[in-house]
Amino acid sequence: MSSILLTSIIILSVLGVLLAVILYAVAQKFKVIEDPRIDQVEAVLPGANCGGCGFPGCRGMAEALVKADDFGSLFCPVGGNSTMAKAAEVLGKVAEAKDPMVAVVRCSGSPEHRPRTLEYDGATSCKLATMLYSGDTGCQFGCLGLGDCVNACQFDAIHIDPETKLPVVDDEKCTACGACAKACPKFIIELRKKGPKNKRIYVSCVNKDKGGIARKACSAACIGCGKCVKTCPHEAIVLENNLAYIDFNKCKLCRKCVEVCPTGAIHELNFPPRKKVEAATENAETK
């Protein structure tokens, strides 16, 4: 009885040692020498693997950061400046601080502004709908509302508002990875500077039709009248193809353009209410 026990123990021990030696030998033979800093940098990165940096995942970004002499265009939009600073610290390099960005939806075509003229009956995909037709309203540039951007977002930061049927970005959750902008077949979503205290001004329209046609399709469309261009004291607005565009690097957030826009296509976000008589009466009415 005890001999059986003994032989079993001996055989198993020998087997164990033998396999350990084989494993070690194989591990040595196929060892991949990798810069240990890649792991360190990867640990600093957010680990969302969203692709917002342009690399397939955080590991790809980490490899690129380790290789790069200076960070230049390399930037993790999700982690932002703090992450880049940490990565720079690990590598002993310097990261230039960049302005935080956020996704902005440039369409105001709610059913109220932009009456639906057609009914879409197909798979729920903006991309497919774009292949099929110009959209269910008179505006061929506007949002289709089928939610490709919502599906593309990994951070649950963009949703379709059930009332306006337009996507709404959650500033807090948005990491400016740009996945929604890439997914949108109408190129409505743009990454813009987040602005001080999230204050920003932008033209919420991408309609390039002539004024009359644009207005007929949507009452909130940019009609290309150029009033904003004339009003802007900082030359931040350009008018091209009947469409105004505000350069967020030049804009000083003075809000003059918002006041003159006849259709309300220029939106201001997160500003305190104006101290004007009109605004006061408006507030009184809503009360």
Partner: protein, 330 residues
């Protein structure tokens, strides 16, 4: 004028629908049900009603309260599962076992995988095999046809032809000695033998097969490949030693071969998608059935054979592809 509707082509659709397909399967099962009620009377009605009702109810309850999605009992797939489950059990099975079997079939085999279209195994067969292993006594006492028409639990029981054969061969008897105990081929064709309530009447099942083919609900590949394999395999054995092996016709007409090949193996969800894959699937079922019957511990092996081959379906679908148009033929 109304708002125009814009949709991608095609702009017309055939009148085919899931409900219609399921309805055709139910219609194809009706002749067998009628024959079954003729032979087993009260028991057949009782078991079928309990099975269908509990399958539909479980599907509804699970969808409503556990998944909290929309309920899809109206597509009729739970009704088909219910009828098939009932067809796979003896007519004197106590109702609570039928309910447990339905719960396993719908709850475990179907809904836990994501409902219709996602289950890898045939739900009715999973339910049957679960009952067979959990309640072996109740699941292998077979009421005699016609005699036990007015009785349910207390029906007079007797063995199935396959059990007689297995038992006899085990005791060293030869086929010629067993002939007196076994029903004739004609009796077996008409269903005059012990067995599950829906598997006995070959002629009624063949009428159902004809209906399924006529309505193009299924293709012929799976049933025919199973029949062919069983005939060829048992035929070879029979030619080698007719005293120890039953003839092919006996194998085709007894047990669950007809029911299994026509209604269980052809279940859309758990069978391959192309003719070549269907042939592989059918041949596999045929071989396994005969192997279990001749050399296995159980007298009958169709359910196990189908379930085992169900597990191979994803593999078959992955590697057996239809011939592409314009592909070079070697």
């Amino acid at each position: 004028m109304n708002k125009l509707i814009v949709s991608p082509s095609p702009h017309i659709h055939s009148d085919e629908s899931t409900r219609r397909l399921m309805f055709n399967v139910v219609l194809a099962l009706l002749p067998t049900l009628v024959v079954s009620i003729y032979y087993f009377g009260v028991g057949a009605i009782m078991v079928t009603m309990v099975s269908v009702a509990s399958c539909v109810l479980f599907e509804y309850l699970i969808q409503k309260f556990i998944i909290k999605g929309k309920t899809t009992i109206s597509d009729g797939s739970a009704i088909v599962t219910g009828i098939l489950l009932a067809f796979n059990v003896p007519s004197n099975l106590p109702w609570y076992i039928v309910v447990i079997g339905s719960l396993v079939a719908i709850g475990v085999a179907k809904m836990s995988f994501g409902g219709l279209g996602n289950n890898p195994f045939n739900p009715a067969l999973v339910g049957r095999v679960f009952m067979l292993i959990s309640f072996p006594v109740q699941m292998t006492s077979w009421p005699l046809p016609i005699e036990s028409r007015l009785k349910y639990i207390d029906a007079i029981t007797g063995p199935t032809p396959l059990a007689i054969l297995k038992e006899g061969l085990k005791n060293g008897e030869n086929i010629s000695q067993l002939t007196d105990k076994l029903p004739s081929h004609m009796q077996m064709f008409m269903g005059l033998m012990g067995g599950s309530l829906g598997e006995i009447a070959a002629f009624a099942l063949l009428i159902g097969f004809a209906w399924l083919l006529f309505t193009k609900t299924i293709t012929w590949h799976i049933p025919v490949s199973i029949f062919t394999t069983i005939t060829v395999f048992t035929g070879i054995l029979w030619l080698i030693n007719p005293e120890k092996n039953a003839d092919p016709l006996f194998h085709l007409l007894t047990g669950g071969v007809m029911l299994g090949a026509i209604f269980m193996a052809t279940d859309y969800v758990t069978s391959p998608m192309h003719p070549l894959g269907m042939w592989i699937f059918g041949i596999g079922i045929g071989l396994l059935t005969v192997i279990i019957r001749v050399w296995g511990a159980y007298p009958e092996g169709v359910s196990f054979a189908i379930l085992i081959m169900n597990a191979f379906v994803p593999l078959i679908n992955r590697y057996v592809k239809p011939k592409r148009f314009g592909e070079e033929v070697k």
